[in-house]
């Protein structure tokens, strides 16, 4: 009698746990299956393919393991190394530009200006718009007979010397809204009393920005810096829609080179090896971000 009484709550708890398990698995199973098929398995395959010589889906049975051959090939392939170099140039232009302009615009909007929401909306619009539609507009505007192209005298997107910087600047124009709004959120969280204290100490506008605002938003700066670097590596849509990697090979960056290698010349494994190299680069920056969140941010 007394033993049954003390066991009752335990049995009840046990039954309850069994019920929670059942319902829990029921709820997450559809997602986990989808996750496995669309994220998990593709991710594993990406690595397996990189060490094989796969070409076509219907002839995957003929593929064999070739070790590091595809990676060795990459480092001996002049065209691919050039593409990697162009990705580097794209990143080196994209990141400083989007960081600095994003901060300046956010800081300006954060002053008590009129029509703040209108300005913010205008600057954010490119971010939500369709890249292919935008590309068609830029191709006409920057073309030799377009309003900007004819004014400059140089068709920026169609000249091998200017095409890469031009697509980069258009990429910045498109992505800037996100950085700006993120900065704006951070700026609005800078404690007012800190700025007022600086006022009392006689600090001017610039001194306040350099000594109070910039240190206070450093966590955001750090987050945006890393995520902008990663975004700059994923530039396929921007470039493919604007120039398809041309003229010549002047805008053929890694993302374009990978898709072309995989889906035009059907060298699936070679393209996978290149994708793994890009993945490794992204992972390095992600790792820096995880470490840096704790140590690099100072105020």
């Amino acid at each position: 009698m007394s033993a049954a009484a003390t066991n009752a709550p335990r049995i009840k708890r046990f039954k309850r746990q069994a019920h929670e398990n059942r319902v829990g698995y029921l709820f997450v199973t559809p997602y986990l299956i989808g996750f496995l098929v669309f994220q998990g398995i593709p991710f594993l395959l990406a690595f397996i393919f990189g060490f094989m010589n796969v070409r076509y889906p219907n002839r995957i049975g003929e593929a064999t393991f070739v070790g590091f051959d595809q990676f060795v090939r990459f480092f001996n392939d002049k065209l691919s190394l050039e593409a990697l170099g162009r990705t580097g140039i794209y990143t080196l232009i994209y990141v400083p530009l989007i960081m600095v302009v994003g901060f300046i615009l956010a800081a300006a909007i954060n002053q008590k200006i009129y029509c703040r929401n209108v300005v913010r909306t205008m600057l954010f619009m490119p971010y939500v718009s369709n890249m292919m539609a935008i590309a068609m507009v830029f191709i006409v505007m920057l073309g030799p007979t377009g309003p900007i192209g004819s004014a400059l005298g140089v068709p920026l997107l169609f000249d091998t010397a200017t095409a890469l910087p031009a697509v980069t600047v258009i990429g910045v124009w498109k992505g800037l809204g996100l950085n700006m709004v993120t900065y704006l959120g951070a700026l609005q969280n800078v404690p007012r009393d800190l700025l007022e204290a600086a006022d009392i100490d006689g600090a001017g506008r610039w001194k306040k920005i350099v000594h109070v605002t910039i240190p206070m938003v450093s966590p955001t700066t750090f987050f945006l810096l890393i995520s902008s670097i990663i975004t700059s590596l994923q530039n396929y849509t921007t470039i493919q829609t604007l120039t398809q990697g041309g003229p010549g090979r002047s805008t053929t960056v890694m993302s374009i080179q990978i898709v072309r290698t995989a889906f035009t010349s059907y060298q699936t494994s070679y393209a996978s090896a290149m994708a793994i190299i890009m993945f490794a680069i992204v992972m390095i920056f992600t790792a820096i971000q995880w470490r840096g969140q704790k140590t690099w941010v100072n105020y």
Binding site: E20, N21, V23, G24, Y25, F27, V28, P30, L32, G34, V37, F38, Q39, G40, I41, P42, F43, L45, V54, P57, N58, L105, A108, I113, Y114, N117, V118, V119, T121, M122, F124, M125, S129, M131, M132, A133, I134, M136, V137, V140, T145, G146, P147, W173, L178, V181, G185, Q234, T237, I258, V259, A262, F263, T268, S272, A275, I276, M278, F279, V282
Partner: protein, 277 residues
């Protein structure tokens, strides 16, 4: 002049400068819209006035006659609806389970999902082509819908949101005899509406604007999406700039309209939860 007046003039100057910058920023949209109402020859003829000399609807009429254009547009709408329905259901249900049901192994599974959060989607492009080919969804809109539907990022964001809903509410409902499913759809989902709306908006923008998946996974003309359709349009035999600009306008318009009416959710989504492109 007083300091206050000086300050006010400074703000006015700054406002004017920013509005000029803003107009320069949206100039491509203005150019697109005005060109879509011009005859093609006028699009690339000085003085490039934003107000058409000859106002015409011909480009839009011609657009309707372009083979497949209506199909591409409709395909994109259907694809977006399917994506939104699937994603809303799957991600909220999953996030609810991870936040409010204490099943065995929950935290371990969640940790695995979190580590997958860091993986950029680009690396999965090539293997996905093989997986889609194996399960027979290549050249169908499901090759776009399903990967968007089983997204990791919003499971994570929604779970973080659901966790903030007090357990006491959930427990009270349990004592009243509510099933977990009822707690999910009648308590947790309504409370998390803003977060869910944010997810829907971002997903709509990404799905509507998607170019890469459609370009790689869809090959039939009749099954294509609008982004790649636009490209086919612009690569036609004859470059018809007026027609192209009309095509670009009808593609950009739905997103811009949705954005203008729901900005608050976009901006808050970015500043409070750190949604990233």
């Amino acid at each position: 002049m007083s300091i206050a007046a000086k300050k006010k003039i400074g703000i006015i100057i700054l406002t004017v400068v920013l509005i000029i910058v803003g107009i320069a920023f949206i100039y491509p949209f203005l150019f697109m819209l005005s060109s879509s109402f011009k005859p093609s020859v006028e699009v690339t003829r000085p003085p490039f006035s934003l107000i058409p000399e000859t106002f015409t609807f011909d480009n839009y009429v011609n657009l309707g006659k372009v083979q497949y254009f209506g199909t591409w547009y409709l395909n994109t709408i259907v694809m977006c609806i399917l994506t939104l329905v699937l994603k809303t259901f799957i991600t909220t249900l999953t996030a609810f389970a991870f936040a409010k049901i204490n099943f065995k192994g929950r935290d371990a599974i969640f940790l695995v999902l979190m580590s997958a959060l860091m993986i950029p989607a680009d690396i999965m492009l090539i293997p996905r082509y093989f997986v889609f080919s194996a399960i027979g969804i290549l050249d169908t809109m499901f090759s776009i819908v399903l990967p968007y539907g089983f997204d990791i990022y919003f499971v994570f964001l929604l779970r973080q949101n659901f966790v903030t809903i007090p357990d006491a509410i959930v427990e009270a409902a349990e004592i009243d005899g509510c099933s977990y499913f009822k707690i999910y759809y009648s308590i947790v989902v309504p409370l998390a509406k803003p977060a869910i709306v944010t997810m829907l908006l971002f997903t709509f923008v990404w799905a509507w604007n998607d170019y890469m998946s459609a370009y790689i996974f869809i090959s039939s003309d009749a099954r294509q999406m609008i982004s790649v359709g636009l490209e086919r349009l612009s690569l036609g035999m004859v470059t018809d700039n007026g027609l192209n600009m009309a095509g670009a306008t009808v593609t950009v318009l739905p997103i811009i309209v949705v954005f203008l009416f729901s900005q608050k959710y976009f901006i808050e989504g970015i500043t409070t939860s750190g949604v990233k492109g």
